[in-house]
Symmetry: C2
Subunit: 208 residues, 2 copies
Amino acid sequence: MAKTSGRESRQKSAKRNDLLEAAQRAMAEHGTAVRLNQVAEHAGMTSGAILYHYPDLQDLLVDANRAGMERFYTERVAALEGINDPAERLTVTITSGLPVAQDDEEVRLLCALGGEAARNTIYAVLLTALFDRQVAMYQTLLDTGATQGVFQLSSDSLTIARNLVALEDAYGYRIMASHPTLDHDVAANLIFDYARLATSHPLPVETT
Amino acid sequence: MAKTSGRESRQKSAKRNDLLEAAQRAMAEHGTAVRLNQVAEHAGMTSGAILYHYPDLQDLLVDANRAGMERFYTERVAALEGINDPAERLTVTITSGLPVAQDDEEVRLLCALGGEAARNTIYAVLLTALFDRQVAMYQTLLDTGATQGVFQLSSDSLTIARNLVALEDAYGYRIMASHPTLDHDVAANLIFDYARLATSHPLPVETT
DNA sequence: AATTTTCCTGAATTTGGATTTAATGACTAA
DNA sequence: TTAGTCATTAAATCCAAATTCAGGAAAATT
């Protein structure tokens, strides 16, 4: 029984990360019905190697999705780094929640999951948690702005936050389905239209 | 070469309908990766019989989804039958767009498709068309209400209509994923909150 | 009634992917 | 060194599902 050295565990987690990323990319490409071989291909290994680390493919897929959601959320928070003005924060958040184009792998993964969640409890739980975290993020942002007098909220912040996240989600699906007249910018403006009503602030503002 | 009699075509379309319904139910249960055998089971036939009518399962699935969307849309229009007051029409439309519970097969089918649309052009086209039809339905409703002076629209009707459909879609996914605090009624009230802002009308109204 | 066509089944076959396993090289610890 | 563990592959095996097809019942046509 070897003691886990720093180097060893660094390597281990790097390997684990490779697998999770491969699974994410494979799922973004093939959906939740992705094959073990397809994951292996993305990882540059044989299926046996995958099985050595994850005897059950489902476990790997779940872990990959958890990691994907975590990254998605973390990136959104990171995009707010150093921005203090609530209106600017709201502008950035709305923009960062939408996929830029049809090939956005992160959102593609989330879309694939959304369809599965109606039938698969574990994915339902994960997506529900992600939804609620995003709602909480918006709520904090809205409440802060209201306290500072920048926003006049038309309703309680929970209601507005839920609607903002819901709009993002739905337009994410539309963009991923290549709606001919509904791209990232059009969708952002549609959400801004609601955000203006809900906050009485002339959004969007210039971001630095 | 037999002439197609009235009876024959009635039977043919009945059979076709059976297959489409079986495929819909099977897909609602198993998602877009549904197996031929699962469809056969729902149809009460062997897989060979399915293949006799649809040599390619994908064709059957596409037809089934088209039929499902058509029904979903038709039912929404039918729910408005005989209602003239725009506010009442808007109330009914918002309510009828949301799944009542997690076991709503129609919405379950649409959710499964949404995830697939990012990867499958034909489903993307179908869902985009459904989205646009629903938007058009709301637009007509909003414009009529505005003309009659019942609604004061905060923006152009296209913007409001898109946001209303987007909210419905997103909350449909949440409800299907069994969000613990976001059921049909909560979701409807969230949408009404936006609809009030957008129309300056104290929705919802009593429906008869 | 006889014939043809339509629809379907059940069994045989094929296919594609998952799973197992023996062998191997790389690394680690004593 | 040497022995042992770890990570991996490639090939063999297994399995489930798709596909094909000969045959037969039912329906339609003559």
